[in-house]
């Protein structure tokens, strides 16, 4: 059998299959251990391997990684083997239609923690009458529907629990303002602010204990933005006793005197968020003429202003350009 084009009925099924697999990917139910182990045996049979003699259950991906990382090669080989066999025969024919509607949406929503993203694709193919081709994936599919991460070895299998909680924002990005956005039974988890993975203290430090020094000392610009967002940009600038040097169409340039003299340029993201607000970033630019490295414009080779005096100079500096050469006509 060959699938060249989806019928209207089949197309109508895609959102149903998508939602089914979103639920699989985001499930916080306790693992169905008997069903998962049956799936493991089926997966091993599909790979022409005897069922694993030893079955180990752990509480979280972290525990699983510690126990199994160095032997995950076998799982890769098995998934690739069965995947490719199916893929060659069905991917080109219907890949585009299914991928656009199912694969991407599920893949993005579950943040790659589970297999749901790509299994959804084959589940759809199976539903459309090509289950003979997708049959080798049945075991892996059963495990995905009933447990968390797992690792397979020739004579053993290591399976792990699903999370106790998964919290997301209105755009389906991992987000929790009071604790981990994902947490597993052993307490291991992921702290995330609107999809930006951050250290635990970034979320859990009370807003009134966040300091300007702490913000300036954060080296990752996204994590820094999260800290500023938590306390508010105005409060940050007030805490830092920032003085406005210049404001123009490009942003605002601020000077901070203590404890370390600094110049920071405040930039507004070109692509607004769906709710209409735009992310505000703070980037540090030179406040001194002292240099370790020479600094010339990548566009024209002219030397750059040692200490940017306007927001335009500051943003141009951040792209190694003079203001004449920093003229993005298109920006998002």
């Amino acid at each position: 059998m060959r699938l060249d084009k989806l019928t209207p009925d089949q197309e109508a099924l895609l959102p149903v299959i998508r939602d089914e697999w979103l639920a699989v990917g985001l499930s916080t139910e306790r693992a169905d251990r008997a069903r998962a182990e049956a799936g493991v045996r089926a997966a091993y049979a599909a790979a022409k391997l005897p069922p694993p003699a030893i079955v180990v259950w752990l509480e979280s991906p972290l525990q699983g990684v510690v126990g199994a990382e160095y032997l995950r090669l076998l799982l890769d080989r098995m998934a690739m083997g069965t995947g490719d066999q199916v893929r060659d025969q069905v991917w080109d024919q219907v890949g585009g239609q299914v991928e656009g509607q199912v694969r991407d949406q599920v893949g993005r929503a579950i943040w790659g923690q589970h297999e749901a993203g790509w299994l959804a694709y084959y589940a759809a193919i199976a539903r459309f009458g090509l289950s003979d081709l997708t049959h080798p994936l049945d075991g892996i599919t059963e495990v995905a529907r009933s447990a968390g991460w797992w690792w397979s070895f020739r004579d053993a299998v290591l399976l792990t629990e699903r999370p106790l909680r998964v919290q997301r924002d209105e755009r389906n990005r991992l987000h929790a303002e009071d604790g981990p956005a994902i947490v597993y039974p052993d307490g291991w988890g992921v702290w995330s602010w609107h999809g930006v993975r951050v250290p635990r203290e970034i979320i859990e430090t009370p807003a009134d204990q966040v300091t300007a020094e702490g913000i300036a000392g954060e080296s990752n610009v996204e994590v820094r933005r999260v800290l500023v967002e938590r306390i508010g940009a105005e409060r940050y600038l007030a805490l830092a006793k920032a003085k406005l040097v210049n404001r123009d169409d490009w942003g605002a340039l601020w000077a901070i005197a203590a404890p370390v003299p600094m110049r920071i340029v405040e930039l507004i993201n070109s692509t607004p968020e769906p709710d209409g607000h735009s992310k505000r970033y703070f980037l540090r630019v030179p406040e001194t003429r002292e240099r370790r490295d020479a600094d010339a414009c990548v566009g024209c080779g002219a030397s750059l202003a040692a200490v940017p005096g306007t927001a335009h100079q500051a943003v141009a500096w951040s792209y190694s350009s003079c203001t004449a050469c920093y003229v993005p006509v298109v920006q998002t």
């Binding site: 993201n269 980037l283 630019v285 920006q331 998002t332």
Partner: protein
């Protein structure tokens, strides 16, 4: 001359010529990744086969786009941008540090 393009931390400056001594950069799972966000997992990426990322001896990077159709620069949280055929210098945003020197912006 093509137009300069900016998408988040990535700035593409059209150039007349690129250095003679230059090596192509291997793709990452079929994509050219101009910059990768380590805390978001997002990437400024190009999939078009017409695009090639090139690295000069001083580690400056250039983008070459051949053919008439151009390429598209995508990112999970920024609007997609069409890039016209031509050659570009790839500039990644940087910021100042206490060490009296600049480092690439990390996100």
């Amino acid at each position: 001359m093509n137009q300069p393009i900016r998408q988040g931390d990535v700035y593409l400056v059209p150039v007349d010529a690129i250095p003679a001594k230059i090596t192509p950069v291997a793709r990452d799972a079929g994509r050219i990744i101009l910059a990768y966000g380590e805390v978001t997992g997002h990437a400024h990426a190009i999939t078009a086969p017409e695009a090639t990322l090139l690295s000069a001896t001083d580690n400056a990077r250039f983008l070459r786009i051949v053919g008439a159709g151009g390429a598209t620069l995508t990112h999970e949280e920024h609007g997609a941008i069409a890039i016209a055929p031509g050659e570009y210098r790839v500039v990644i945003g940087r910021e100042w540090t206490d060490a009296m020197s600049a480092r690439q912006v990390i996100d």
